[in-house]
């Protein structure tokens, strides 16, 4: 078992005006582990994702990332170029709305290849081959490689976003409601795909979701947030099957078969 965390946070606190979005939040993520952050809208779970990924700075507290060489980086003290480099190589971010991340006027192949090119790949044939391989891994036909995303369905767009994100083999992926806004039948396929990819590639992930079934399927551990605080955390099935906090019990009792 690895002892060093990939990502750690202590005492993260952030207010939007008088509204507490994060209150003294601690978090740890180990390599290859999926951590789900659950809660209702406004619980602070998306804010936590944005703070952990360096997209937002906290009022107080600190978050560290351990690079492949073992060096620790204070995410909010990193120079912007270094953080950007992380975001386009070692890290990935999967948005709920794939249109926020995809370039809709660029072909599927160009979308998948962009991170490779940003990292310095300069061989067209290799980039294209990698794009095709990734389309196949997310179950998009290879002959769609030259099509524009606007011809894709919602589920395909989300899978294309995942291919675009994973093409550089990130060690850490932030996911914000990756199955939100999709039909239930499409969700199941996507979940299964994410589950397979995350396991096969050993990717660590912080997964924000309001859907407990998604958390159960994908996450090793779970953090339950309410009004900016972590009210309960632990092993996913322990928290969902034996919830201790009143709010967790309310969440669990509000859904069928999670």
């Amino acid at each position: 078992m690895e002892h060093d965390t990939l990502l750690s946070a202590r005492g993260l606190t952030l207010h939007f005006g008088a509204t507490p979005a994060l209150v003294d939040v601690d978090a740890d993520l180990w390599p290859g582990e999926v951590l789900a952050v659950v809660g209702e809208s406004g619980s602070g779970k998306s804010t936590l994702l944005n703070v952990l990924s360096g997209r937002l700075a906290p009022d107080a507290g600190v978050a560290w990332y351990r690079d492949p060489a073992g060096a620790l980086h204070d995410i909010h003290a990193m120079p912007a170029p270094a953080l950007r480099t992380l975001h386009r190589s070692d890290w990935g971010f999967v948005h709920q709305n794939p249109r926020e991340n995809l370039r809709m006027a660029v072909t599927a192949g160009g979308n998948v290849g962009e991170r490779l090119m940003a990292r310095g790949s300069r061989h067209y044939g290799d980039i294209r081959a990698a794009a095709i391989s990734w389309l196949e891994q997310v179950e998009i036909d290879a002959d769609r490689v030259d099509d524009l995303p606007r011809t894709f369905s919602g589920g395909m767009l989300q899978r294309l976003q995942i291919a675009r994100t994973l093409v550089t083999h990130p060690r850490l992926v932030f996911m914000d409601e990756p199955t939100g806004g999709l039909d239930v039948s499409v969700q199941a396929r996507l979940l299964d795909l994410i589950r397979g990819l995350v396991r096969r590639l050993g990717i660590a992930a912080v997964l924000v979701t309001h859907d407990l079934a998604v958390a159960r399927l994908l996450a090793h551990r779970i953090m339950v947030m309410q009004r900016g605080r972590v009210v309960e955390s632990g092993l996913t099935d322990r928290v969902l099957d034996d919830p201790r906090h009143a709010y967790t019990q309310l969440l669990v009792s509000s859904v069928l078969g999670a």
Partner: protein
Amino acid sequence: MLEVTGLAKAFTLHLQAGLRIRVLAHVDLRVDAGQCLALVGPSGAGKSTLLRSLYGNYGADSGQIRVRHGDDIVDLAAASPRVVVDIRARTIGYVSQFLRVVPRVAAIDIVAEAASGDRRARAAALLSRLNIPARLHALPPATFSGGEQQRVNLARGFIGGHPVLLLDEPTASLDDANRDIVIAMILEAKAAGTAIVGIFHDTEVRDAVADLRYHVAPIQDAA
């Protein structure tokens, strides 16, 4: 292999005005390698709660669940979630009463992903032994019958070769022929040194496999 001392477990139902239900108290039990312990007691006494607590699925309120994990003795009741994940991967296997179906994942992969090494071949062999015909191996078990799902679940539990195995009604929805196969598999696991804790309503199965019994008594003083 597994030693429980002073285990207690209660549920506090915050949505029912904080109603506290004590289910387990003062549980002491011990299972060694090659032994099978059967949990017995009336329905609702807390047998499943105890079994789930041994897997870390339910958190213990007090007491210890000490298990030999690799070269260490680890207290599962106090272990961090990551250690519990590791214990489940390497030391404790669990066969639940019902298979939790994962959408789109084929039966053979559900079984294979619970093990390491040459997994698919062993998964196929186990499924076939449990009379799941090869033509079903590549299908997701969502559409399988209850008995078939139970057997997929058993294959998933047995393939890992965990030193400790927890069985919750492993033969509940099986016919006699398949029940006998499961009995044989349990006996083989015991012979190979596996420590087993199980709930067996079927007394024939219980008598065939269990060396020890632990009586789980209902606690009356819910307050």
